[in-house]
């Protein structure tokens, strides 16, 4: 029986609701702050063919390439060989994964022994071994960043709940309770996806469900094509750059070519700088996700379900051996820095044809702050992500003090942090006035967070950017403020570099100040109302 358009609409919403429920339960049952408070995770529902049909829209960088992470698993272990309670694991940056910390779990879903689809979840794990607790800023290869799980098939009954895989992970990570707890939260999310999908088969039958899933892909594809159709054909080029690789003091440049041909969009990165020796390399899956996230954000309504129908329209490629498609075993931990410059470059290319839809560059730098300490025989690892100011648009100021576009981490409440990490006290958490670039609309403000270190033996590691190269304004807008980090130790100010790690002493005050977003349009045209409001609120001084 053919599916009516009403049934299609109803199943469509049900699948999206199911993926959202997966995401929210993953967060609510997870253990480490990076998942449960910062929400660095995502979830998806996938059809029998391995195409993502619905996703929990939590973290942009983890979406848009989930099918590419599943594909190598299915190539090795074909769908028809899968059994109940099997699952795939993959975090291999060189086989469809992103960085080591993002473990993808895929659960095949059976209904009366028939495979009806997969549920998927991904979470950032606080520690997976490697050369330093939580974050190894000086890793020279991917092996020093943590355990690699290549695309592999396991079974819950055989390998988990005290089985060999769980025991192996437990023995090789520094905070086993948190890691195993978070993986269990991922399994629970996948189980919920399976239950909801099975309930839809109960109601509509597996053929109808599969038909509805196909229709969902077609629907998103159609809506994205409709959005692209109105843009002028042509190739549009732009660049964006990171400060340096952390060793050589020279910018690393990403070059993009965005080609529109009728209702197809192709994004390539020819001429991008080669891969580097430090952890700034960006695996292909992250490059694809970042480019698609930018194009989707700029060109389409936010209510278009983000699934693999979008990927049919937008093709992304990057030369092998470049920063955006590195070869193994280059380290990749800080791939979000390059991913954000991918986002910036594609945005600047699109600014040439859709000036009213783009925004100026923001701080756009996912900055992790990792503070760890040995307490008795256990590690205690604090990891939090800081954002900054968003770039301004054609009719809005950039958002102040918010996470960067490709990540979407909430902060860890100070009162929660101080309960769990007795070696830290937050002394300020505030916006930085005047850090937004001027313009007809101004950029968003950067933020400051400062940590008083209460115990010796505390280690610090981070990676950040925009210490040297400012966020660029659009159409006359001014750049946003730069980021800085420093330690106040006994009245002395010790400047820190953007990609580094070091030991801290009791009494140190670690100060992180992130960058602001750039402005949009001529600052002379800013309305006096907006200016007066900013001055009265103390957000700008003039």
């Amino acid at each position: 029986m053919a599916l009516s358009s009403v049934d299609h609409a109803i199943i469509n919403r049900a699948l999206i609701a199911a993926s959202h429920e997966m995401g929210s339960k993953l967060i609510r049952s997870a253990h480490s702050p990076i998942v449960r408070e910062a929400q660095d995770c995502s979830a998806a529902i996938i059809n029998q063919q391995g195409k993502v049909v619905a996703q929990a829209e939590l973290t942009a960088i983890q979406l848009g390439s989930i099918a590419q992470t599943l594909a190598p698993c299915l190539a090795l272990f074909p769908a028809e060989t899968l059994r109940e309670r099997d699952f795939f694991i993959n975090n291999d940056p060189y086989h469809g994964g992103q960085h080591i910390q993002d473990i993808f779990l895929f659960t095949p879903i059976f209904y009366n022994a028939e495979l009806i689809g997969f549920s998927a979840s991904v979470a950032h794990h606080i520690d997976l071994g490697g050369g330093a607790p939580g974050l190894n800023p000086y890793a020279g290869d991917v092996h020093q960043e943590g355990l690699v799980f290549p695309p592999t098939l396991y079974n819950l009954d055989h390998d988990w709940n005290g089985g060999p895989l769980e025991r192996f992970i437990r023995a090789n990570v520094r905070m086993p309770e948190a890691t195993i707890g978070d993986i269990n939260a991922q399994f629970a999310a996948n189980l919920i996806g399976a239950k909801r999908l099975s309930a839809l088969v109960d109601r509509y039958g597996s053929e109808q469900l599969s038909e509805a899933m196909d229709a969902m892909l077609d629907y998103s594809e159609l809506r994205v094509r409709n959005a692209i159709r109105n843009l002028p054909n042509g190739t549009y080029c732009a660049n964006a750059a990171m400060d340096s690789d952390g060793i050589n003091n020279k910018p690393i440049v990403i070059r993009t070519q965005v080609t529109i041909e009728d209702n197809n969009l192709e994004i390539s990165f020819d001429g991008t700088d080669p891969q580097v020796g430090t952890n700034l390399n960006c695996p292909l899956a992250s490059t694809i996700a970042a480019a698609i996230a930018c194009a989707k954000s700029v060109l389409t309504d936010s209510d278009i379900p983000f699934n693999d129908g979008v990927g049919r329209v937008i093709k992304v490629s990057a030369p092998f051996g470049s920063l955006l498609n590195p070869s193994s075993p280059a380290p990749v931990r800080a791939r979000l820095l390059a991913s954000h410059r991918v986002f910036n470059a594609v945005m600047k290319a699109l600014a040439q044809i859709a000036p009213d839809k783009v925004i100026a560059e923001g701080f756009d730098t996912t900055t992790p702050i990792c503070l760890s300490r040995m307490e008795g025989n256990n590690y205690n690892i604090y990891l939090e992500i800081l954002g900054g100011g968003y770039g301004a648009g054609n009719n809005n100021d950039g958002c102040d003090g918010v996470d960067s576009p490709l990540s979407n981490c909430a902060n860890i409440p100070i009162e929660s942090l101080e309960m769990d990490y007795r070696f830290l006290r937050i002394e300020s958490y505030s916006l930085i006035p005047d850090s937004g670039g001027g313009g007809m609309y101004r950029g968003g403000l950067g933020l400051e967070r400062s940590y008083r270190i209460l115990e010796d033996g505390t280690s610090f590691a981070t990676y950040s950017d925009r210490f040297d190269i400012v966020s660029e304004g659009l159409f006359g807008g001014k750049p946003g403020g730069l980021a800085t980090m420093f330690i106040n130790r006994d009245g002395e100010k010790i400047a820190l570099s953007s990609k580094m790690g070091c030991d801290l002493q009791k009494g140190d005050l670690l100060v992180i100040r992130t960058g602001g977003g750039a402005g949009y349009g001529d600052p002379e045209k800013r309305s006096t109302d907006h200016m007066d409001l900013d001055i009265s609120e103390g957000l700008t001084s003039q």
Binding site: G181, G387, P413, I414, Y429
Partner: protein, 673 residues
């Protein structure tokens, strides 16, 4: 004589019970001055206020003060370094692909957030003391020019040790006795500074408005001779005396939906149903809630206008599906309904108030499931042609006949409602098939049976006066007061005494408070623990029995593990450590006798015309349908399809359903023969 008055966005509803006879009145709301509408309703019902012993009131005054940003001018005192708490919020975005994302607008301006040097640590130890001179200077700044209506205080870690908040508050009282002060430890003594600060600031913000409104309203009532008890509905489903409410204004948010849930729970309980799903469909939205064993679930955190409110609220899921919700086609050719609504103005196209967009109400008119005669008992004119023409362009675009399109519109709206019910049932680990649906609001009874079918629920209950059930619920509500405290406690055998002590302490606090407000008879208590596995950040609510003396750790552990499993599909083996994060105690006193009023029927519904047959389009088919009034529904049961015009609402009984009316004038719909 007892009177309930519920002020909604469009209508003000009133129910009066006099010598066990119920009368109702429905008049248009007067948004600028809600008390005017309320007094109009009193007049319309012909009530002499001298004879009113009890008046219970629910209104949207607090909610509107926030939504329209018309609260008091407040300032907030925070710990040094935390001035931007309200601007930074939680640092995330609710829409990840929205490049022009705007955070919810803070309730307090940045220049009105003032810092003071002081600090507690996570154990409540003082790291830095308050400086008296600095404090005095700060208060002088605040009181200069009498700029502020109220002050809120929210300091870091004050939930553990509120000493500094208390000290600041008492110094303000000395220096500026007339300035109203709200402390965070009083409003929400729980961790997470942004949520607590937001709740405290909102409370201070709405307080002057609520207080002003209630005083004004009471004065008007008193002029007309009112000397009875005056109480106000809270969002937790209980009520408080009006004068107490003006001190705890934040509890008045969302009182309207809560009153409906209380009414539905009370009426279903009278005929033995204690596990119910409430379905309240109004003009702009649908509210649903799940009730297990006669007690609505409370949620500790809700939001208003994007801002968090940490005060227990009945756990209600809302979707933008109501009579005014607009049908549209997106650029992927998919038919959609809502969340945009035509609201009361301009309203549905058929209302002829300038609305031209197709709404659910228009779709019902086209299908025949609403008859022109059923609007406000036939007193309101509707324009069928306008309804049809509003669907014309979509009909051409989708190449679908208008009747079929109207029918599809309603199916989509009903699917959205089903999703809301799944949110409070399936997603909370409850199987909707174990529940009955209680439908009310103007349109609840019209959609309930089809929604029930989708969820495999086989019984639907329609209370009398379903269209004004919120007003009925006001008269059925108890006096309720909650207190909470965050104190992390490992769940081990040795902690049992401390758990009992904390709960008993909170219990004494709630009791003392209610007694101080003149309420003491027949108190009962609810003890709730917010619990989690050590390492998790979100808590699962665990409700204990009333008897604390025999509390054991094993029993608590078992209830927690079951609750965790129900929601998350897993629980851990018992050796995994569990902790209590927050304690919550509610005190309740049965204020109202259960009443079983007979219908006053208001004269106009006394006509009982013979049933007639009409043609409708429903469920993809054209069918012959009976049209009748509630009085014609028999105790033996009548089989659908039937459309029952019921004064304040319309009930639809689909073909495979039957309807019967019991002694209490409640209509029960059953699926199948």
């Amino acid at each position: 004589m007892r009177v309930g008055i519920e002020v909604g966005g469009t209508f003000t509803d009133l129910i009066v019970i006099d010598e066990n006879i119920a009368h109702i009145a429905k008049v248009p709301s007067t948004p600028g001055q809600p008390d005017v509408g309320a007094l109009n309703a009193i007049e319309a019902a012909g009530i002499d206020l001298k004879n009113v012993a009890e008046l219970v009131h629910g209104s949207t005054v607090a909610t509107n003060a926030v939504l329209e940003r018309k609260g008091g001018h407040i300032c907030v005192i925070v710990t040094k370094g935390m001035r931007d708490l309200f601007a930074l919020q939680r640092h995330d975005r609710t829409s990840i692909y929205d490049l022009k994302y705007k955070k919810p607008k803070p309730i307090v301006n940045r220049q009105d957030v003032l810092e003071i040097n002081e600090r507690m640590d996570a154990d409540g130890m003082i790291v830095q003391k308050l400086d008296q001179i600095e404090l005095a200077e700060l208060i002088k700044t605040i009181t200069a020019n009498q700029k502020y209506d109220a002050v809120a205080i929210c300091l870091l870690n004050s939930y553990v040790n509120p000493e500094h908040e208390k000290e600041i508050a008492s110094t303000i009282k000395q220096m500026a006795p007339s300035l109203s002060v709200t402390c965070s430890y009083n409003v929400s003594r729980e961790f997470r500074e942004y949520e607590r600060a937001s709740t405290t600031a909102l409370s201070a913000y709405v307080q002057p408005i609520i207080e002003g409104y209630l005083n004004r309203f009471l004065k008007k009532l008193e002029i007309k001779g009112f000397t009875g008890r005056f109480s106000i509905m809270q969002s937790n489903g209980g009520r408080m005396p009006a004068y107490a409410m003006s001190k705890n204004a934040i509890a008045a948010l969302y009182s309207g939906p809560a009153a409906g849930v209380v009414g539905a729970t009370g009426i279903a309980g009278r005929i033995g149903y204690r596990d119910i799903i409430t379905l309240d469909i109004g003009g702009t939205s649908t509210d649903v809630a799940l009730i297990v064993n006669g007690t609505p679930d409370l949620t500790p955190l809700t939001k208003i206008d994007g801002l968090p409110v940490r005060t227990p609220v009945i756990d209600i899921a809302t979707v933008g599906a109501g009579g005014g919700s607009i049908a549209w086609v997106d650029d992927g050719n998919l038919l959609r309904v809502g969340p945009e609504s035509a609201g009361a103005y301009p309203g549905p196209a058929s209302y002829g108030r300038g609305g031209e967009l197709p709404t659910i109400t228009d779709a019902h008119l086209i299908r025949g499931t609403l008859q022109a005669s059923s609007f406000l008992g036939g007193t309101m004119k509707v324009d069928m042609e306008a309804a049809r023409s509003s669907f014309k362009s979509m009909s051409a675009h989708l190449m679908m006949p208008i009747e079929e399109l109207a029918d599809s519109t309603i199916r989509i709206a009903e699917a959205n409602i089903v999703r809301a019910i799944q949110q409070v049932s399936t997603e909370r680990g409850r199987d909707p098939r174990d529940f009955v649906i209680v439908a009310f609001g103007g349109a609840g009874p019209l959609h309930a049976a089809r929604v029930a079918e989708e969820l495999d629920v086989s019984t639907v209950i329609i209370p009398p006066h379903a269209g004004v059930l919120s007003a009925v619920g006001l008269l059925m509500s108890d006096y309720v007061h909650f207190r909470a405290r965050t104190e992390r406690t490992r769940l081990v055998d040795s902690s049992v005494t401390s758990i009992i002590n904390i709960l008993s302490d909170l219990r004494t606090q709630t009791e003392t408070y209610l007694i101080s407000e003149g309420i003491s008879e027949g108190l009962t208590f609810e003890h709730i623990l917010e619990m989690r596995y050590v390492g998790q950040a979100f808590e699962v609510s665990v409700t204990l029995g009333e008897d604390l003396k025999h509390l054991t750790i094993d029993a608590v552990s078992k209830i927690f593990s079951e609750a965790h499993h129900r929601i998350f599909e897993f629980s851990k083996p018992p050796e995994n450590p569990v902790e209590i994060v927050s304690y919550r105690v509610g005190a309740r006193t049965k204020s109202a006798k259960f009443f079983t009023p007979k219908d006053g029927l208001d004269g106009k519904t006394e006509r009982t015309p013979e049933p007639e047959f009409i043609e409708i389009t429903e469920g993809g088919e054209q069918i012959q349908c009976q049209l009748m009034t509630r009085q014609l529904v028999s105790g033996e049961g009548s089989f659908g399809p039937i459309l029952i015009e019921d004064g304040t609402s319309t009930i639809y009984v689909p073909p495979t359903w039957s309807a019967l009316r019991d002694d209490a004038n409640i209509i029960i719909l059953k699926r199948g023969k």
